[in-house]
Symmetry: C2
Subunit: 196 residues, 2 copies
DNA sequence: GAATTTAATGAACGATGATTCATATGAACG
DNA sequence: CGTTCATATGAATCATCGTTCATTAAATTC
């Protein structure tokens, strides 16, 4: 027996989109269920027909926004034979992705203390760190990159990229393409005179 | 006529310290006046004898924590004749300062949308950006650094350093000294084979 | 040691917000 | 139509929080 919606109820996705806008611009605690309801043209009651609670709504929102996040890791799991290009591709893609999802990241940054964020963050750091480390190791093996502490340098590259994202989200500065270029250049060459 | 406290009332500084702990670990909105009061062994009423409101308390806390922030800019206003060492010193000092004030920064990051944060942030970015840019320009003039878009590269260096701070605050990872070393190394040499 | 001044208390107030539920409404089906 | 069912509503409920203020009490003054 098919359940046919009887009054073409607003779908969850519409609510989640509205909640993302509100949470990211005003913060989780500061956004009320009434505001979310109003912004999708529903009553509060209708929200509770779809989500057990405000927290559940937020969790579903995060799940919804991160369901494509495997792209970020899967796409770069293969080693590849050109480490320089691999790093370039990774930085481009990762920054592009982060800028596209800046509303979500804005929530992640602001609510980074929420308990259910911890495992997500941990997993993210681990996967990205590994990707960068592998590229670096491959580059060193091929003689393209200098010898280095790959763990350490990978962490710094990760930090730099997060810093660039912060620049966008918090300081409101930066164009993805340009930042991507500049940061890659800096990471590869440094600022010393003797660099390539 | 001197006003002598009659029951050796807890000084503001003690309250501000407690509030810093609570705000930074739990967030501004999520921290209640009762919690602050309890954690200094006072009643809510006593808090309101010292601060007009919760927001006023928070503002005073920020003022109190940033009253030494001029160190960060004043100390590096002089050009200096060794740009490499100047950059090193700046990065060391700035990261050290940031790590020392990580509770405050945690509030800044989390509450970055609060209207009264905007000018503070703007001023901070501008001053730090100028310092880095000047060092880079001096380095290029002396032939120690390669030719580059100083505006651009200074912004990336600033971003990298903020990213390192984020690593500490959000991801809970990193030791100041080590991060300072690694990042400086990366910024100077990059990862390419032909670098120094 | 009474009077006065200063500071502390915490219950009470008013506002707000998450959540619930009794009620209403429209669609589907006979 | 009338019955049934899914859905929507929003006032009521319950809890929390910022803020106030009547009351208490220590210290100081005379």
């Amino acid at each position: 027996m098919k359940k046919v919606p009887q009054r073409a109820g607003a779908p969850k996705s519409k609510i989640l989109k509205a909640a993302l806008d509100l949470f990211s611009s005003g913060g989780y605690s500061e956004t009320t269920m009434s505001e979310i309801a109003r912004s999708v043209g529903l009553s509060v009651g209708a929200l509770y027909l779809r989500f057990r609670s405000k927290e559940e709504l937020c969790l579903e929102l995060i799940r919804d926004q991160t369901n494509d996040s495997d792209e970020l890791t899967d796409r770069f799991r293969k080693p590849g034979d050109d480490p320089l290009q691999a790093l370039r591709d990774y930085m481009d893609f990762s920054l592009e992705y982060a800028f596209k999802k800046k509303q979500l990241l804005s929530i992640f940054i602001r609510e980074f203390r929420l308990p259910f964020m911890v495992p997500l963050r941990k997993k993210f750091l681990a996967s990205q760190h590994k990707i960068i480390k592998d590229i670096l190791a491959a580059g060193t093996a091929k003689g393209i990159f200098r010898p280095m502490d790959h763990d350490d340098v990978a962490l710094m590259i990760f930090a730099s990229m997060r810093g660039a994202v912060l620049l966008k989200i918090v300081f409101g500065i930066g164009d993805v393409k340009k930042i991507s270029d500049s940061l890659f250049q800096l990471v590869i060459c440094g600022i010393g005179k003797d660099s390539k």
